[in-house]
């Protein structure tokens, strides 16, 4: 277990009357990659600025247990951190000049600057652009320069605020891969903010979910993505189906939940009478043309109301007894034949794919 690199305690940030950030505790381990997700306005950028010592907090303590001993004054401490924003924000200079900026600010000598900058330009595939004026770069090239600028100072903490959001899909994918490959082997602690959950899952070992300035959940990506703590997190991590139901019976280890006309058994301890959300991913909903057979809580009939066919999958809205489900079928699988709007189908669910959340836990 790596030691704590950064610890936030009782952080409160106000913007006027509104509370932008309210986090009692958040620890980042040394060398880990932490993804921070949330809707717009959730406070992700504010959190990043607080971590980068760029934002004054109204209350709270930010500590760098490992660094504090070595770097006493705020400026040297701040210089162990590098931030990359969504916009490249390069200055009016050549690419080389921009990437070398961080080093020059730290009074690194010319020869060493040369020695350190060129390899990073190569690693991020912009070596050939070194002498070009920064303003002539494309979006992707500029963002690579911004990354290089941050990495060349060899920061102990790297903060990224939606770094790939402004790029076109091709550039974004390429840069994501290059970035991952580059930091994978290093000991840099990385915290990056994204509103794209796929990116969060791909890059982050741990995920933090923010909503309206509060930390909803913090855990390994498997935890957060498979067992969201509340309805909000479930929505953010991509559970398209969050069915509201009532617990009929409960025996402490399992319970029966009434959803629409169905009564579905789930495991877990939920007080009888409490409201729960059943979270099911769209791709965990299996849909086949209606097959006669015994009904079960996990197998029932429904009717396809609507089909939206995208390039890689078909998305269906299915009317079920008392509720509706969103299902998604991959095109490649070829399971789509025989399905069309208005068709009666058989829906089957894998019990393990159902994740239950107490409805009142959305605080």
């Amino acid at each position: 277990m790596a030691e704590t690199f950064l610890s936030l305690r009782d952080i409160v940030v106000h913007y006027g009357a509104a509370t932008a950030l309210d986090i009692p505790a958040l620890d980042v381990s040394g060398g880990e990659m932490l993804a921070v997700v949330g809707a717009n306005g959730a406070g992700k950028s504010t959190l990043l600025r607080v971590m980068g010592l760029l934002q004054v907090v109204d209350r709270g303590v930010i500590e760098f247990p490992g660094l504090a001993a070595r770097y006493r004054d705020p400026l040297s401490l701040r210089r162990r951190i590098a931030t990359v924003f969504q916009q490249p924000l390069l200055v009016d200079d050549s690419v080389y000049g921009n990437v070398a900026l961080g080093l020059r600010l730290r009074a690194v000598g010319k020869a060493e600057v040369q020695r350190r900058v060129m390899p990073w330009l190569e690693r991020l595939a912009i070596g050939h652009l070194a002498e070009r004026p920064a303003r002539t770069l494309s979006g992707g090239e500029a963002q690579r320069a911004s990354l290089a600028r941050a990495l060349v100072v060899e920061p102990e903490l790297l903060l990224l605020d939606e770094p790939f959001a402004a790029l076109d899909p091709t550039s974004r994918e390429a840069l994501l891969r290059d970035f991952h490959r580059t930091v994978k082997g290093t000991a840099i602690t990385v915290v990056f903010v994204t509103h794209d959950r796929h990116e969060a899952y791909a890059l982050g070992q741990r995920t933090a979910v923010l909503d309206r300035g509060r930390l909803m959940q913090l855990g390994s990506r498997e935890e957060v993505f498979n067992s969201p703590a509340n309805d909000l997190v479930a929505a953010i991590v991509g559970f398209e189906n969050r069915l509201m139901g009532i617990v009929e019976v409960s025996d402490g280890k399992s319970a029966r939940v009434m959803i629409g006309a169905l009564s579905i058994p789930v495991s877990g301890s939920f007080p009888a009478g409490s409201r729960v959300n059943l979270c099911i991913r769209a791709n965990a909903v299996r849909v086949t043309p209606a097959v006669p057979g015994p009904g079960s809580p996990f197998r029932f009939d429904g009717k396809i109301r609507e089909i939206f066919s995208a390039r890689e999958h078909h998305r269906m809205v299915i009317d079920c007894p008392g509720f509706e489900l969103v299902g998604s079928l991959e095109r490649a699988r070829g399971q789509f034949c025989g399905l069309s709007e208005g068709k009666t189908v058989t829906v089957s669910l894998e019990p393990s794919a159902i994740h239950v959340i107490l409805a009142d836990s959305s605080l």
Binding site: I81, A82, T83, V84, Q87, L89, V91, R135, A150
Partner: protein, 237 residues
């Protein structure tokens, strides 16, 4: 037209004939206005930067004052500075009236709002996130300021040129606080007024030509510093 021709010939004669008085007047104009612009920069730029980058109660009032100040009529400034510097005025003890110092003072008052206002505008044009990014890459507050100045170099230098142009060409304040005293406070603009009043149009034109050439030369130099390779604009078909 004939008058203009005579003026040009006279200008040639005066400049290249090394007429001492003309050189003295020109040199004094340059000294006073350059010094005034320099002081206005020293005081005005920090004001402009502060207004651009910070927020405080009453800020909008200060900005409005700066913007109003940009359009101050020089002769009004001259009047008020005179009121201060006359023997009967509060600063009379300094005995600065009718000396070049008074002229520098008046010109600083004229140039200061121009420099502050244009600095403010040029900094406000910068991407607000840029400051954050530069801090996020390790800039100290002082380094940040320097980098922002470099980024805003274009409009900042325009502000310098506007400030200098405004004061080297003004006559109202210089006349009132300087007194147009021969050999002491006579500059190109006040001398031009004098000669025009006397009816010596050829000398007046000559002085105007010298003033224009001087201003052009300085602005040419500053423009070279300011401009960089222009962005290739696409040709509109």
């Amino acid at each position: 037209m004939e008058l203009l021709g005579q003026g040009l010939i006279k200008a040639f004669e005066l400049v290249f004939g090394f007429d001492n008085e003309i050189w003295a007047i020109t040199w004094l104009s340059l000294k006073i206005s350059a010094l005034a612009t320099g002081i206005a920069l020293l005081l005005g730029m920090p004001v402009g930067v502060m207004l651009a980058l910070t927020r405080f109660t009453g800020r909008s009032v200060v900005v409005a004052l700066v913007n109003t100040g940009m359009g101050l009529p020089p002769v009004v400034v001259g009047l008020f500075v005179s009121l201060m510097l006359w023997r009967s005025g509060p600063l009379g003890i300094l005995e600065w009236i009718y000396t070049p110092i008074a002229m520098v003072l008046a010109q600083v008052v004229i140039a200061l709002p121009i420099v502050a206002g244009l600095t403010l505008a040029s900094f406000q044009n910068l991407n607000p996130q840029l400051s954050l990014q530069l801090l996020g890459i390790g800039a100290s507050k002082a380094q940040l300021l320097w980098l922002l100045c470099k980024e805003a170099r274009l409009p900042l230098l325009a502000g310098v040129m506007a400030g200098f142009g405004g004061v080297i060409s003004e006559v109202g304040a210089s006349m009132m606080v300087g007194g147009n005293i021969r050999g002491q406070t006579r500059v190109l603009t006040t001398a031009t007024v004098l000669e025009t009043g006397k009816g010596n149009f050829d000398i007046a034109i000559a002085l105007s030509v010298i003033l224009l050439l001087l201003t052009f030369a300085i602005n040419f130099f500053l423009t070279r510093v300011q401009q960089r390779d222009p962005l290739r604009w696409p040709r509109l078909s």
